[in-house]
Symmetry: C2
Subunit: 83 residues, 2 copies
């Protein structure tokens, strides 16, 4: 079994209103040192695969088909053998 840690972020050129809202909230709380915030998604996926290559291929396909929107988002992931 493998655990995949998947990070999905908006592409740098895409507006991020959620990140702007978080930044404004932090400024209102007095965290004036905050320059910018970019928000994204994080997923931990446990999957049954025999090899790291097979697990990596599966997770890449999942990201392309469902987990990320390739038009506006980038993704990266790390794999770790578990249990």
């Amino acid at each position: 079994m493998y655990v995949a840690r998947v990070y999905v972020t908006l592409r740098p050129t895409v507006n991020d209103p959620e990140g702007l809202t978080i930044r404004n909230g932090l400024h209102q709380l007095g965290f004036d040192m905050v320059r910018s915030v970019r928000s994204g998604k994080y997923m931990e996926i446990r999957l049954d695969q025999d090899s790291e290559e097979a697990a990596s291929a599966s997770v890449s396909e999942m990201c392309g088909q469902l987990l990320a929107n390739p038009v506006i988002e980038d993704y990266r992931f790390e794999l770790e053998q578990a249990g």
Copy 2:
């Protein structure tokens, strides 16, 4: 300047309907090897601080006050010097 990469996840005992929905979607697409999915948030925060200690203290406080809900969520972060 530092970049903080903040990961906010639901505590293991808390139900994660978004993760279940993603798992079901992956199963419907034929990814039967997926055992479980846990969803979370990911943020990249750029902040002006002179030392890693000060940056770390600030980000911890931001997480406690705004970025995570300590009742149901855990957080962790990494710091990296930038620019």
